[in-house]
Amino acid sequence: MKNFFRILIILTIVIGSQTNTNAAEKVEYLKTDWSFKGLFGKFDRGALQRGYQVYTEVCSSCHSMKYLSYRNLAEKGGPEFTEAQAKAIAASFEVIDGPNADGEMFTRPGKLSDKFVMPYENVKAAQAANGGAYPPDMSVLVKARGGGVDYIYSLLQGYEDPPAGIVLDEGVYYNKYMYGNKIKMANQLSNGLVEYADGTNSTVEQMSKDVTTFLMWAAEPHLESRHQMGFKAILYLIILTILVYFSMKRIWSRIETEV
């Protein structure tokens, strides 16, 4: 029994460490305490709302978020804007709809059921506007990068002057956390860039943290219910396991063998 546990633990560690090493290049990412980590991790509502503001005012001019709808903004476990707020947000965007009865496409204000409006009509248009680089869709971005939230958080703050000897082409920037250190996105954040509705001081660090939190939610909109359900499920399993253990002892006591 003891042996069994020991080997099971070793195996789990080995498997865990193997997948960790998959994450290619090791750079020390900037650390911050994320409210959504841990057994009871939840999103910081304020950070999500501020993060949405940063996304809309800064990122969304190039980066799409095609899997999100405006209704998501009012859903439980997300930024939890009120329904009226979410409706107002949706209505502030022009959505192309149609064709109407005359076969014409037309624009109308957005509704809750609409997907986030895309900044470009298609990938080619996005590339043309960005020096050939396609600004990736942000819906699942934090899950699509090895370092996850820490990577995005660091990248946003990782712009510096290139070390001597590195020559950058036109439209390429130096970032210490980017793979290969060359990135086609210019530094977007500067202190005081957005004016937060809740009066929070908009430092680069603060905005990076807020928008990364928002991106985490965008990629894992059900993270909170997952954590809650996980805790209940595991607690239930542990209690059941203990009960079954004692019933097993009881049943096996009918014969002399140890179990």
């Binding site: 080995v14 498997i15 997948t19 997952r226 996980g230 253990y245 019933s247 014969i255």
Partner: protein, 421 residues
């Protein structure tokens, strides 16, 4: 099957049982005499059955919402994650369930290796098991392609391209497999079809696996033949059922931890990027459970020979009952084999590790040494060991060591059955 004649008590039961002896079968399964000294390594058979059922049930629900089309597969997976009620739960159980399935199957296989469960008269159980394992790898590989992320696409490209190593007809076969000139929509739809089919083939083979097991009965940690039923056995129900249930619950706690708290740690981040035939990922790596074989494939400089080595590494297992010449089953009584067993375990773990690393420099060298050792173990060490090894005396019955309280050698009645001289 050594069951005594069973007659249902009720008249209806008897009427039915005379026409279809399902009740006899149920009776056989509950009364099935099982060695009472089975340890927890024997609970993984039940755990694997649970894994298979879980994959089938969650897979059915996923298939209701998934769209097998190159343009829509990725979107439909995100739809499942976001808008389908508890879709995230179902998908994370299915994705992590594959890893859990392999974790359990590796433990199950290595248990068999340690206690010599593959030896006569259980060769057929073992070979069916190897076929199941092969099908599992095929199912897992095709399942990983379905989300149509970058790793899906490029993994499929790399693996299907292996067939091009076949002389003369290789290229034709690859085109035939793809249904075109690259991995594309026809590849995705056929992979989906096969991914849906294979679990049911596995289910059928599992029935055969258990049937074949119930003919000679379970092996046990002491590895000796036992009389059934006797003082050495307990009925499957309730003794083994509750013990398997207890082990299964512990397994489920680990499983739940992955699903609820680190659902993506066993996958690759690149698979959350939609497949793009024009962009190749920096490192193409398979899922962790295929890494040892991937390492063997890459350790051979020639493509065709690499594929041959990789396939041989799996098929060599099927020949194991005849490669292992020792008459003693359990490693408990084989002091030398026990050492080599643990070296093999380490060897496979090392292969898995280097499989995840780029194939260059020191990693490649380690992979080559470990590959060579893998084959050395099965082709040289095992056959020779059977003749050379001085085995320990084995007990007459399992009751001896069990009642003695010591897991290995209780003195008392021991018969010199070791093979030396």
């Amino acid at each position: 099957m050594s069951d005594q004649e069973y007659t249902p008590k009720s008249r209806v039961g008897k009427w039915f049982n005379d026409r279809l002896p399902l009740l006899t079968l149920a009776n056989h399964l509950t009364d099935y005499p099982t060695p009472k000294n089975l340890n927890y390594w024997w609970t993984f058979g039940g755990i694997l059955t649970f894994c298979l059922i879980t994959q089938i049930v969650t897979g059915l629900v996923l298939a209701m919402h998934y769209i097998a089309h190159a343009d829509m597969a990725f979107d439909s997976v995100e739809h499942i994650m976001r808008d389908v009620n508890y879709g995230w739960l179902i998908r994370y159980i299915h994705a992590n369930g594959a890893s859990m399935f392999f974790l359990a199957v590796y433990i199950h296989i290595f248990r068999s290796l340690f206690y010599g469960s593959y030896k006569a008269p259980r060769e057929v159980i073992w070979i069916i098991g190897i076929i199941i394992y092969l099908l599992m790898m095929a199912a897992a590989f095709m399942g990983y392609v379905l989300p149509w992320g970058q790793m899906s696409f490029w993994g499929a490209t790399v693996i299907t391209n292996l067939f091009s190593a076949i002389p003369l007809v290789g290229e034709g076969i690859v085109t035939w497999l793809w249904g075109g000139y690259s991995v594309d929509n026809p590849t995705l739809t056929r992979f989906f079809t096969l991914h849906y089919l294979i679990p049911f083939l596995i289910l059928g083979l599992v029935v055969l696996h258990i049937w074949a097991l119930h003919v000679p009965g379970n092996n046990n940690p002491v590895g000796i033949d036992i009389k059934k039923p006797s003082k050495d056995t307990v009925p499957f129900h309730p003794y083994i059922v509750i013990k398997d249930g207890f082990a299964l619950l512990m397994f489920m706690i680990v499983f739940a931890f992955f699903v609820f708290y680190t659902p993506n740690i066993l996958g690759h981040a690149d698979n959350y990027i939609e497949a793009d035939p024009l962009v190749t990922p920096a490192h193409i790596v398979p899922e962790w459970y295929l890494l040892p074989f991937y390492a063997i494939l890459r350790s051979v400089p020639d493509k065709l020979l690499g594929v041959v080595a990789m396939l041989s590494a799996i098929f060599i297992l099927a020949a194991l009952p005849w490669l292992d010449t020792s008459k003693i089953r359990s490693a408990v009584f084989r002091p030398l084999y026990r050492q080599f067993y643990w070296i093999l375990v380490a060897d496979v773990l090392i292969l898995g590790y280097v499989g995840a690393m780029p194939a260059e420099g020191l990693y490649l060298l380690i992979a080559r040494v470990a590959t060579a050792y893998y084959f050395l173990h099965f082709l040289v060490i095992l056959p020779v060991l059977g003749y050379k090894e001085k085995t320990l005396p084995i007990p007459l019955s399992i009751t001896e060591p069990v009642l003695g309280g010591s897991p290995s050698l209780a003195p008392a009645k021991m018969k010199e059955r070791s093979k030396h001289k």
